[in-house]
């Protein structure tokens, strides 16, 4: 009896341990630099946080993770201080944990379903995943996983975003020869050109690429497939299977008057200049970027938060997020909205732009907006924003970034008519295998689903790599 009571007491104590907050750079400091915002757990903090996990028999968290990492198991290793085992366990399902731990929308995925979250705060699964990966990066042996015997088969991966990198990593370990073709001069996809340094240090992405190269993956940058080479030419060169992980690289604009004024960017351009081209270090780096005092960012996803926070770091006085729906519909990660608010980003909700005004040099100087109200639910199930008559108002604006989503870039698909596309231009691929309508060609990630998440892109890559392996060893 006594023993049982003891256990009960232990358990209830466990629940009361508060979620370990990750230390962060202070808002008024970090808004002037590009260094990473959350600083990471110490060993003690990680073990402490891990001890909050109830080790559920039927862990709900796992159902929330698109790649079904065995979460309680890796957490158990962290709690026991065996970080090496923890990371090896994660790797079995996810090859990019340092990245996913930082950028997954955990509140909608693993942590959103964690049982502790019902009454208290969920276990900080993302932070723990990040910790295990960072620990390995700093203190690991760097030892490479064993590779299967060479099959002599060659695979081409087009695009070096999270989905392409996952495919490359999987297939090289299975003994195939893998070359990744990337249009940009640097690999990493959105991880390198889109997500800013203060959220995902580029050193981490570089390390992932380096890891693949050490395994023998060839990363061939400056190769625009569809232009420099076509898929058929890749087959002629001896590649037996091709994976398309080209992302959703087509900017969307607002299509309102004045949008071509100088100082109005697509988020793709603004972030590519800032991150990939390192415009925030101009003139040390040669690529310039308009610095705004009054900045407007349209949209409220992760991309919008990244653009807004970048503009703040470039020295803006006012940064405004302009979003036509309400707070509940904002698609960004909880942490990003919170960080943006702390950094002084202003939120203009239920607000839609109608036009931009310019000065005589053709630079944007202001904009006009309309107030919106929520009407009946639309196709997406969200209440449709409707303009309030006569509610026009004007704001100063000398830099605007449009972050209202991305579409499918037609560059490659146009050069490959056998690839069937859906009505939005995304590649049609089998849901289970990732096979496209062209023999020997697979596709996954944003080019199939539309702009989604890193972990979904990586998960799609994993599925495809299994199917590609079957094809190379058994047949189509």
């Amino acid at each position: 009896m006594g023993e049982k009571n003891d256990k009960k007491e232990k358990k209830s104590k466990k629940e009361k341990l508060p979620r370990q907050q990750m230390p962060e750079q202070k808002a008024d400091v970090r808004k002037h630099n590009f260094d990473e915002v959350p600083l990471g757990y110490t060993k003690q903090m990680a073990m402490q946080e891990a001890s909050r996990c109830l080790q559920c028999k039927k862990p709900a968290c796992v159902e929330g993770c698109p790649v079904e990492i065995d979460i309680p198991e890796f957490i158990r290793y962290i709690q026991a201080g065996d970080f090496t085992k923890a990371i090896r366990h994660i790797w079995q399902r996810n090859s990019l944990p340092a990245i996913c731990g930082r950028v997954c929308p955990q509140e909608d995925q693993c942590e959103g379903l964690c049982i502790l979250g019902k009454k208290d705060e969920p276990v900080a699964i993302g932070h723990l995943e990040r910790f295990a990966a960072d620990y390995e990066r700093h203190y690991g042996t760097g030892e490479l996983p064993p590779k299967a015997e060479s099959t002599g088969k060659r695979v081409a991966v087009v695009g070096s975003g999270p989905s392409g990198l996952t495919v490359a990593g999987d297939l090289i370990l299975k003994g195939h020869e893998v070359t990744v073709f990337e249009a940009f001069h640097k690999g990493g996809g959105v991880l390198i050109y889109g997500i800013p340094e203060f959220r995902l240090p580029k050193e981490i992405v570089a390390q992932e690429l380096n890891f693949l190269e050490r395994l023998g993956v060839k990363i061939q940058c400056n190769e625009v497939v569809g232009k420099t080479t076509t898929l058929d030419e890749l087959f002629e060169e001896g590649y037996e299977a091709i994976y398309l992980g080209v992302g959703a690289g087509l900017p969307r604009f607002l299509n309102i008057p004045g949008e071509n004024l100088v100082g109005i960017y697509s988020a793709n351009e603004y972030l590519t200049r800032a991150n990939l081209m390192k415009a925030y270090r101009f003139p040390e780096y040669d690529t310039p970027l308009v610095k705004g005092k009054d900045v407007a960012v349209f949209g409220a996803g992760n991309v919008a938060m990244d653009a807004a926070r970048t503009a703040m770091r470039m020295g803006a006085d006012n940064v405004r997020i302009i979003y036509r729906r309400s707070r509940e519909e904002m698609p960004a990660r909880e942490a990003e909205i919170h960080h943006a608010e702390e950094e002084g980003i202003q939120f203009y909700l239920l607000t839609a732009p109608t036009r931009f005004m310019g000065n005589d040099q053709g630079r944007v100087s202001g904009m006009e907006c309309l107030q919106m109200e929520l009407g009946e639910p639309d196709d997406s199930g969200r209440r449709r924003p409707l303009p309030v008559k006569g509610s026009e108002f004007q704001l100063d604006c000398d830099l605007a970034v449009i972050a209202v989503g991305a579409g499918a870039n037609p560059l490659l698909t146009q050069s490959t008519p056998e690839l069937q596309l859906n009505k939005w231009g995304y590649v049609i691929a089998d849901e289970k295998t990732g096979k496209t309508t062209k023999k020997g060609v697979w596709a996954g990630g944003d080019i199939v689903t539309g702009a989604a998440t890193v972990i979904l892109a990586a998960g799609a890559g994993r599925q495809c790599s299994n199917s590609i392996h079957d094809y190379l060893t058994i047949g189509w």
């Binding site: 940058c221 793709n268 310039p288």
Partner: protein, 277 residues
């Protein structure tokens, strides 16, 4: 690295030719297409049209005018050195058809861009009249090459130091008066293209121009290069660079080209200082 196998200065060193080893691009490139080059780790991505290619030797050639930091940096690269990155071929190729009489008007370094198009137009069976111009004789480039590429070459200089005294548009006007011209291709500085299209509109002759908007990726992912053509927004890097000159909003283009003037000046000044010290 993409090695520079030949380097030549033209127009008193204000224009530089580089032949670059890039076999994959050379094998694919067609007249009118461009490449994006980046000199080093900290460099900008700069678009330049291929002036000619030699697929057998695996070589592409670019001819560029030194106007700012990046082109100045390019001009310091010697034979045996090279570019960290060269990407291409990008953009749509010029549509080459047999039409009859075609006039190719090139100004400044636009002549370099015009050269492969002129050659291809002639090879397609057109009667090709080329008009090229520069401020002064010493700045004229590719005269011999353009002579060979066309049936009839007419040269002008703004200061009258060589050929016709005046602008390319003067000679174009005379040509349009006298000949049954089916197509004009005009490539050069924005003001020149604007005047060329204004004139050909009067004569109702179809005119192609090649737009040199500022670019980043060159693959249609950023929208930096957007131009208004016939009231619609188009991306110069994938929908162009050539467009129907009568539909282009040149005012907008020239304003967009000034987007970074102050920063570019700062960067160029620093570079010049660093070079001198």
């Amino acid at each position: 690295m993409f090695e520079i196998v030949k380097r030549k200065e033209m127009a008193q060193g204000t224009v530089v030719l580089n032949e670059i080893k890039a076999p994959k691009i050379a094998a694919k490139a067609k007249p009118g297409q461009f490449v994006i080059l980046k000199a080093n780790e900290t460099g900008e991505r700069i678009p330049l049209t291929m002036a000619y290619t030699d697929p057998e030797k695996g070589i592409i050639a670019v001819i560029y005018q030194v106007v700012g930091k990046s082109t100045a940096l390019f001009s310091t690269l010697q034979e045996g050195q090279g570019f960290q990155d060269v990407i291409g071929p990008l953009g749509k190729a010029t549509e080459i058809e047999k039409l009859g009489t075609v006039v190719c008007v090139g100004g400044g370094t636009g002549v370099a861009v015009m050269h492969p198009i002129t050659k291809a137009m002639k090879e397609a069976g057109n009667h090709v009249i080329a008009i090229i111009g520069a401020r002064t004789r010493d700045l004229l480039i590719l005269e011999e090459e353009m002579k060979a590429a066309s049936h009839d070459l007419r040269v002008c200089t703004d200061d009258g130091s060589y050929g016709h005294h005046g602008f390319v548009t003067d000679v174009l006007k005379q040509t349009l008066e006298k000949e049954d011209v089916k197509l004009v291709v005009g490539i050069g500085p924005v003001p020149m293209m604007k005047f060329v299209t204004k004139m050909t509109k009067e004569y109702n002759v179809k005119t192609l121009v090649s737009l040199n908007s500022i670019m980043v990726d060159g693959t249609g992912m950023c929208g930096c290069c957007r131009v208004s053509v016939g009231g619609e927004t188009r991306f110069a890097c994938v929908d162009g660079p050539e467009f129907d000159g009568h539909l282009v909003d040149f005012e907008e283009l020239s304003k967009r080209l000034q987007a970074y003037t102050d920063m570019e000046k700062e960067s160029y000044e620093q570079f010049k200082c660093a070079c001198q010290s």
